[in-house]
Symmetry: C2
Subunit: 308 residues, 2 copies
C-alpha cells in the first residue's frame, strides 16, 4: 500500500502513456518512489513510440487501490476517465491540459493544468523547474506525445509552446520531428489488425453535460473509407455501449490524418442535436466534419453546450 | 464587457487582496489588460498592508458579469466562495493553494494550485517563470500575504517554500519580516472598532461535505477573552446565519496570534460531531482547540471527514 502510481486516462493514448513514464522518471530523479502504470491496452501508435525509444510497456493495473494509497494523474482529471477505484486513493498531483470537471479533493494538492496541446509540454517545464535534465529516450517519448496530441502540429489545440517544446525535445532525442512524427502517426493509423471492438475502445472518452452522459470515440486513419465501410456493424456495437452506460449520445469519429478532416457516426436519443451543433447535416447517421481533428477543442465543447 | 477581473474570495483576507493586486500587476506587465477587484470589505490587517506599501484599495465589485466576461481567480476555486454571478463569466485562470471542489469548466484553462501556505508563494514563481521583476511595493504586498496566511510562519500550512519566498520578498521590499509581520498581525487583531456583525463576516467561508453545508469563521485576536465575553450575543447572530443559509454546522474560531491556540463556538444540528472530531469536549457550545491555527489544514478537513 506504500506505492505511488502515475497514471494517464482509460483507453490510454500516446500522451497518457508517455507522460506517465516521463513524469515518473522525473519524480524518481528527485527522490520520490513512483511507478508509471496504464489503465488499458496500448494502441499501435504508442507501441511504435515505446519501441523506437526502447521502453518496456508500463504494467496494466485496473484496481489501483490494491497496491497504492496515493496516485498522480497525468493527462486527465475527470474521475470517470480514471481508475475505477480512484475514489479509494488519494490524488496527490494532477498534470493535465484538459477542462476541469468531476474533480474534488479533501486536501490541497499540486494541480497543474495549462491550456496547451499536450501534457508533455507542461512536463518539459517541470523538468526545467526541478533542474532535471531530460535524457534522450525520455525526450523521444515526450516528443511522441506532442506529435500525437497535435496531429503533427496541425490540430487547433496545438500552441506555440507545444511547437517550441517539440523542437527542443526532437533535438534532445536526436530525431527529425516531421519524419519521425509521420512514421509514428502512420503506425497508429494502421487499423488492419484491429477488430471493430478494438476501434470502439481504442480512444473513447465519456463526458457529462447537465443530466446527460455522452461518449466520443476517435480513431485516426489514412482515409476514412475503410472504417466507414463497416458502419452498420459498428452501429450495433455502439448501441450496446449506449444501453450499457445509459448514454444520451455516442459519437464515433474517424479522423483522416493526411487531410485533417473527420467523419462522425452518431447514435443515441440526443443524436438530433448534432446537426445544428455542428451545422452539418446528418445522413444515414453520418456527419461530415471538415477541418475537425480535435475532440477536446472542436467536439466536446460543442456537444456539452448543446446538451446543457 | 471586455474587462478581465482578478479576484480573491468573498470576505477577503490579506492573501486574496494582495495576490489579486500582485497578479494583476504581473499580467499587465506581460501585456494583458486586467483589473484587481475585491468582493467585500477590507479587514484591518489588509488595510495596514495596503497603507504600508502605498496601494489604493481595489474596487469593490459584487456582480462581475456586469463589466467582465472573463475572470482570473486567486486564493480560491470553490464557486460558493467566489462572486455570486461567477457562473455567468468564463474563468480563464486559477492560482490557488486550497483543496479543489465545486469547480468545473467547459474549456481547458491555466489552473495552478500548489500545496503551499499562501497564493503569493506561487505568484513569486510565476514572476520568475515570466521573467518579470517584483517591484519593492509589490514584494511588500506578497510578503504581507505570506505572513498573514502563515501567521508569521507558525501555521502548520507554512512550508519551506513559503519561508524562502518570504525571505526573498522581505529583502526586495526592504523590511524586516518578523518586525513588520508582528505589527501587521497586531493591526489585524485589533478588534476594538469591530461590531459583532463585522466579526462574523470578517473571514468566514462556506463549505460542502456530503449533503451538508457548513461554515467556519475565524478571527485573529491578542487573547481570546475579549471575543468570548460576547459569546451569547454572537450565538444569536450565528443562529441567524444558520437559518438563512441552511447550515448544518457553524464554527466560529477565535485564534490567539501570540499563543497560537484557538477557541471555537459551535452551533447547528450537527454541532455534536465536533467533540469526537477534535477530541475535545464542548462545554456551553465552546471547544478548546490547542495548537489549532489553520482553518484549511486543521479544521475544514476534520469537519468534512466527520460530516461525510
Ligand atoms: Mn493529452
Ligand atoms: Mn490564501
Amino acid at each position: 500500500m506504500s506505492k505511488i502510481f502515475v497514471l494517464g486516462h482509460k483507453n490510454p493514448d500516446t500522451d497518457s502513456i508517455c507522460s506517465a513514464i516521463s513524469y515518473a522518471y522525473l519524480k524518481n530523479e528527485i527522490g520520490m518512489d513512483v511507478e508509471p502504470i496504464r489503465l488499458g491496452e496500448l494502441n499501435n501508435e504508442t507501441l511504435y513510440a515505446l519501441e523506437q525509444f526502447n521502453f518496456e510497456h508500463p504494467r496494466l493495473v485496473t484496481r489501483v487501490s490494491a497496491e497504492a494509497s496515493q496516485v498522480i494523474l497525468v493527462d486527465h482529471n475527470e474521475r470517470q476517465q480514471s481508475a475505477e477505484d480512484i475514489n479509494e486513493v488519494q490524488v496527490i498531483e494532477v498534470i493535465d491540459h484538459h477542462r476541469i470537471a468531476n474533480f474534488e479533493t479533501v486536501d490541497p494538492l499540486y494541480f497543474r493544468a495549462e491550456p496547451v496541446g499536450c501534457t508533455a509540454t507542461i512536463l518539459l517545464k517541470l523538468f526545467k523547474e526541478n533542474g532535471v535534465a531530460v535524457p534522450a529516450n525520455i525526450a523521444g517519448l515526450m516528443l511522441s506525445a506532442i506529435i500525437s496530441d497535435s496531429l503533427l502540429f496541425k490540430s487547433p489545440t496545438c500552441t506555440q509552446q507545444d511547437i517550441h517544446a517539440a523542437r527542443e525535445l526532437a533535438e534532445l532525442a536526436g530525431v527529425d520531428a516531421a519524419e519521425y512524427g509521420l512514421a509514428m502517426l502512420k503506425a497508429g493509423a494502421d487499423l488492419s489488425n484491429k477488430t471493430l471492438e478494438d476501434l470502439m475502445s481504442l480512444d473513447s472518452k465519456e463526458f457529462e453535460a447537465g443530466a446527460h452522459h455522452f461518449e466520443v470515440a476517435q480513431v485516426n486513419a489514412i482515409g476514412v473509407d475503410d472504417v466507414i465501410s463497416r458502419q452498420k456493424e459498428l452501429e450495433v456495437l455502439m448501441e450496446q455501449v449506449i444501453t450499457k452506460k445509459g448514454l444520451s449520445l455516442f459519437l464515433f469519429v474517424v479522423t483522416d490524418i493526411l487531410n485533417n478532416d473527420s467523419v462522425g457516426i452518431v447514435l443515441g436519443e440526443q443524436a438530433g442535436i448534432v446537426e445544428s451543433a455542428f451545422k452539418s447535416s446528418v445522413v444515414d447517421n453520418r456527419v461530415l466534419l471538415p477541418g475537425v481533428v480535435s475532440r477536446k477543442k472542436q467536439i466536446v465543447p460543442v456537444i456539452t453546450e448543446a446538451l446543457s
